[in-house]
Symmetry: none
DNA sequence: ATGGCTGTTGCACACGATGCAACACACTCA
DNA sequence: TGAGTGTGTTGCATCGTGTGCAACAGCCAT
């Protein structure tokens, strides 16, 4: 829409390929040298491009600081919330959002079930890290040594007979989760409650959060809950897309 | 130099702070709404900014991708990274790599401390140039007139009582650093944080980068940190050897 | 309906971006 | 040494394009 800005921005992907001098830039933009010079100067003043000793231009490391700051200020919760609400509207069950922080996995958002029978949980509360679906999703993505170290360090309380019994079983489960891209908790925490969850990923593909739906089996059976898996995964993917700044999928 | 581009680029740091709507952007730029709209539209077309559901703008995926490429194109970083990781494995503290760019010294890589207490820093972020160990190392190597000119031009904020107070003190410190071939920052930036660093040199012997380890004195005392100096220097030398060894003369 | 609040569009005007040509500077040849 | 190339840089007139304005369009409250 704005020619000048349009041209200036076109320089960036060009420089991303590698350093270039003034004339090369001018040529690839299809403008006069002097025009390219002015554009580059402006980019330079803002620290977006950097001029190396041989006078050629390349992208500045400062650009990275900008992106980094933006990522830090990104609030997953804010972005995810409308998606979670929609998920809840579709299936009616309790929806959770969780993140991994300091050797704990915490619920950071929740949309209550619309059924009268609800599961107990609280935003900010650490989840049962060895059994919860969201915990498995978040930990499955850790680098192998850290994952192993953490697994060794944990306690494995037997909330129910179906709880994860020990580190070996936990690591095996994490491998499965990592492989399949989704996770469940079928009565591992509370005998009567099942969960199914999916990962939310950032630009770099790493899991930054996880969401899940939970329901007591007096309301839906485990099979019926598993049938909702595609819905959960689609929601998680939509949040991932929006979080990483890609165009949202419009039907 | 180019007003339009200048305005457009001024939007980026603004959005890095967090999402903003059209009017907020227009106001902070000091331009009419319609002007801001056109600028944002152009940025949007290039994927630099992204528009979320609530119509507010934030930085977009393309910017993250560009930033990524910007740092990846720094070949020192690629060579140094495994060495930095190894250094971190040996000592456990936060390891930094920094370069001098446009009157600033920027962190371009970082390996986090394995201790729970970490220092805050960010890749791409300019360092406190008058006190940081890596900054002293990089500036100590400048030709004398440039060094003097730069020293005169800088501000000397008193982060702590131990911060470098003025140009004269700074130049004296640089001379010492140049002489001894290593540098420290003992509580000059944050009262409780100490650093020790060493220079990485290219084929011609000039300092092209610097690495350092940083630790809060609740974890190790300054003396204990200084005992790690030989380790840091060996790392820096190893990187130097590898960097200058296979240095292909870039056209 | 009514008002406030936001983003959007069309338009006339003038300002600022543009290309040109001339210049400056560093190299490389004979 | 000097002409000859390849750069980046500057001043300037000209015209294109970015600009602010005002009016409009949605949306959501009351």
């Amino acid at each position: 829409m704005s020619q000048t800005v349009d041209r200036a921005l076109s320089i960036l992907p060009l420089l991303a390929e590698g350093p270039a001098n003034l004339e090369q830039v001018a040529q690839r933009l299809g403008v006069h040298k002097s025009t390219a010079l002015r554009l580059l100067r402006t980019l330079h003043e803002h620290g977006i491009v950097y001029r190396q000793q041989d006078q050629r231009y390349r992208l500045g490391a400062r650009l990275f600081a900008l992106a980094q700051e933006a990522v830090e200020n990104l609030d997953i919760r804010e972005i995810a919330h409308p998606h979670l609400t929609r998920l809840n509207e579709k299936c009616g069950h309790t929806v959770h959002l969780a993140v991994h922080e300091e050797n704990e996995v915490l619920y950071i958002d929740k949309v209550e079930s619309r059924y009268p029978v609800r599961m107990y949980s609280r935003i900010g509360k650490p989840v049962a890290i060895t059994v919860a679906a969201v915990a498995k999703l978040l930990l499955a993505d850790l680098p192998e040594p850290e994952r192993r170290a953490l697994a060794e360090r944990l306690d494995y309380p037997l909330y129910t007979p179906r709880s994860t019994p020990n580190a070996a079983a936990f690591l095996k489960e994490l491998a499965t989760v990592r492989e399949q891209g989704w996770a469940t908790d079928l009565g591992g925490h509370e005998e009567s409650i099942n969960c199914v969850g999916a990962p939310i990923r950032g630009t770099d593909g790493r899991t930054v959060a996880a969401c899940s739906i939970s329901a007591p089996n007096v309301v839906v059976t485990a099979e019926e809950l598993l049938a909702l898996l595609p819905l959960v995964r689609r929601t998680a993917d939509a949040i991932s897309r929006e979080y990483s700044g890609k165009a949202p999928d419009r039907p």
